[in-house]
Amino acid sequence: MDRLRRTLVAALMLGVVAPLRALAAWNKEAFGAKTPGEALKHLGIAGATPSTEVRIDAPQIAENGAVVPIEVSSAIPGTNALIVVIEKNPFPLTARFDFKDGALPFVKLNVKMGETSDVRVLAEAGGKHYFATHEVKVTIGGCGG
């Protein structure tokens, strides 16, 4: 009985985890890129236009690079994705958010920064890309911690 239960539990877990793994895509090449240019290339982004409609709310000075709060949003109509790149981190691409019908192009998160760097946020709308940057000065780096 116990064995049967274990088998059933294992089967259930596989059933739940397997489709999740199959569905979940993670762009290994883009996240493994060591320069912002290379990361964007692997995301299929050829060029981006600067825009004040892409908003970044982040501190100018972060004492602790392990937890830097960043709020990003886009006022460009039809924005379907926001991409966060920390230019001087060992692996610059930090996150890509895809917003479907029902979600607003807004996200707030905490990131690690190894050193003072520009944070570049790209918005995707109608197949085009727009960006803004914001420099964060880091007093104590947060990549090793």
Binding site: T94, A103, V107, V111, C143
Partner: protein, 97 residues
């Protein structure tokens, strides 16, 4: 996780308990702690996916995210699930208040 109605939108705030190891940190013995981090994040409203995200090891430990949904109603079911590079996953659920 909490989800509250705002002015024309629903505000979601979610906390995940996860070490988010970068693979660059050393333990007290000087050995590198292997990479262990959330890679995928999904937000669903009443069973429908509204946000899909891919994230890196540069997201801080015990990640906290805020998202906003258009409109919304009290009682809407919000589900946030994640999957990490070890294949571990979890889902958190709440109703809009």
């Amino acid at each position: 996780m909490r989800a509250n109605l705002g002015a024309g939108f629903t505000d979601i705030r979610v906390l995940m308990t996860h070490p988010m190891e970068t693979g660059l940190r050393k333990d007290p013995d000087g050995k590198l702690v292997p990479m262990h981090f959330i890679q995928n994040l999904t937000v669903k409203v009443n069973g429908k996916t509204v946000i899909d995200a891919e994230i890196s090891q540069a997201v801080s430990r015990n990640p906290v995210f805020s998202f906003r949904l258009k409109g919304g109603a009290k009682g809407d079911k919000i589900e946030v699930s994640w999957l990490d590079n070890h294949g571990e996953s979890a889902a958190i659920e709440t109703a809009v208040a």
